[in-house]
């Protein structure tokens, strides 16, 4: 349905789950100067009402568990945007023991914004690209999560394997 696709693209509600330092760019994007609401993008306080999950920066293993819980509560179709280099390759935490390096392995990401940190202009640009993708029917990563669920769960299980980190006596 064309009308449903257009309405999905033009009304993107995002969940407030600020995981890293990229979140500091969200207030200027929402408020008077770069008014995000003029594209129909609004913050929502609960994952049940959200369409977009923003991963704003680095993710520790502990936070990733919560992110997956939030992502799985969102009604489909749902989209994920990764902010900054941390979600691509770990960024400055590349060599850290508890920060994940590639978000793509654990939840499906529709769009990455490069830079550390991305400016409000690039955030708005990403949202407009996501809107275009939705209207053209290309933002289908949520289907990928359903089809390759085992693969994603396997990757997550490798990370959450607590026995690996336990000191052997």
């Amino acid at each position: 349905m064309g009308l449903f696709k257009i309405s999905q693209g033009r009304s993107l509600w995002m969940v407030h789950f600020c995981t890293g330092c990229g979140a500091v760019e969200m207030p200027p994007t929402m408020t008077s100067r770069f008014d995000m609401e003029r594209f129909g993008i609004a913050p929502m306080a609960t994952p049940r009402q959200a369409d977009v999950l923003l991963i704003t920066g680095y993710l520790t293993v502990k936070t990733l568990k919560r992110v997956i819980m939030v992502y799985e509560q969102m009604p489909t179709p749902r989209y994920v945007i990764g902010f900054g280099s941390c979600t691509v390759n770990g960024g400055i935490y590349w060599d850290s023991y508890n920060v994940i390096k590639n978000l793509d392995l654990y939840i499906p990401v529709d769009l990455y914004i490069f830079g550390c940190m991305p400016r409000p202009e690039s955030i708005l640009d990403a949202f407009l690209k996501l809107r275009k993708m939705i209207e053209e029917g290309k933002a289908n990563k949520w289907k990928d999560y359903i089809e390759r669920y085992d693969w994603y769960k396997q990757n997550q299980a490798k990370l959450f394997d607590v026995n690996k980190w336990r000191v052997q006596k």
Binding site: M1, L3, F4, I6, S7, Q8, R10, S11, T31, S32, D35, E37, R38, F39, G40, M44, A45, T46, P47, R48, Q49, A50, D51, E72, Q73, M74, P75, T76, P77
Partner: protein, 295 residues
């Protein structure tokens, strides 16, 4: 034929309600020095919500809650005259039916949200039902002198008996009208009386577990609710002559609430109820006294 007429009536009110919601977002944005979403944003939101698929279920009552709320407000709508010549149900005493039915919406939501067991939802319902204790009394006491004055308990007859401009009940009973306006702010759930859905503290309150189609239905409930609640105020105090005048009146009343909403902080719940039992109660009591003194 009558069913088609009622369906048209219902669709007209839904469209106008969604339009008001969109314009309200635009007006709020302009007050906050932003550009704001397009005026048709509320239509897009509802369309999108109806195209989504909810994955989890919280039981039968959770799904039925929004339906009960929407059915309650749709039934209330039947007793609301849109101006003088509009098709409606009316009989002697329909004001009381109206005031009873208008409560079904929050009660339906309370039943549905209670099923989800989310603490935020429970707090939201508790606040919504407590707040009702404040504004319902004011609303009823504000309309009382008007209905006693015109010796009828039918909203439609009050419109017919009021007639044109200088005979408006709002001009005869200015104190009651002012009290009714303050009650309207709470009825619409705009700041400073938006404790039930305080998004910054209890994550949308009763709606916290609702998403997708349920939330779409609740949005439609809110859209019809705006027209029904402002419509009662306009019908009782300003006796609309035709349907255009009715929608102009409801629009002005709603925009007044939105403008107040844009610049106000939020009361705590006990402050809100104490406020309602203070100045507005005095206003409506003086309104009733005014009727008996200047009869």
């Amino acid at each position: 034929m009558k069913i088609l007429l009622l369906l048209g009536y219902w669709i007209l009110v839904i469209i106008m309600g969604l339009l008001y919601m969109g314009i309200a977002r635009k007006v709020t944005a302009r007050i906050q020095n932003r550009y704001g979403p397009p005026f048709y944003q509320a239509f897009l939101d509802v369309l999108k919500l109806f195209s989504k698929r909810e994955t989890a279920s919280h039981g039968v009552m959770h799904s039925l809650g929004p339906v009960i709320a929407f059915a309650g407000i749709s039934t209330t709508l039947l007793f609301l005259p849109l101006g003088k010549g509009a098709p409606i149900l009316h009989f002697q005493g329909d004001l009381f039916v109206f005031l009873y039915l208008i409560v079904i919406g929050p009660l339906g939501m309370a039943l549905g949200a209670g099923e989800s067991n989310n603490p935020n939802a429970t707090i939201g319902i508790a606040r919504a039902l407590s707040l009702m204790l404040g504004y319902e009394i004011i609303l009823f006491m504000a309309t009382l002198p008007v209905f006693v004055h015109f010796k009828t308990a039918s909203i439609y007859e009050v419109i017919l008996k009021q007639g044109a401009f200088p005979n408006w009940a709002g001009i005869k009973f200015p104190l009651s009208m002012l009290g009714g306006l303050i009650a309207l702010q709470g009825l619409l759930g705009e700041k400073p009386f938006d404790q039930p859905i305080a998004p910054h503290e209890i994550a949308s309150g009763p709606m916290v577990e609702y998403g997708g189609k349920y939330l779409g239905l609740l949005q439609l409930w809110h859209a019809v609710g705006i027209i029904v609640e402002t419509g009662l105020f306009i019908d009782v105090f300003f006796g609309p002559q035709n349907i255009l005048w009715f929608f102009l009146g409801t629009f002005i009343a709603f925009m007044l609430a939105v403008v107040i909403n844009a610049v106000m902080p939020r009361f705590r719940i006990e402050q809100a109820i104490r406020f309602y039992w203070g100045v507005p109660l005095l206003l409506v009591v003086l309104g009733i006294l005014q009727y008996y003194l200047w009869r």
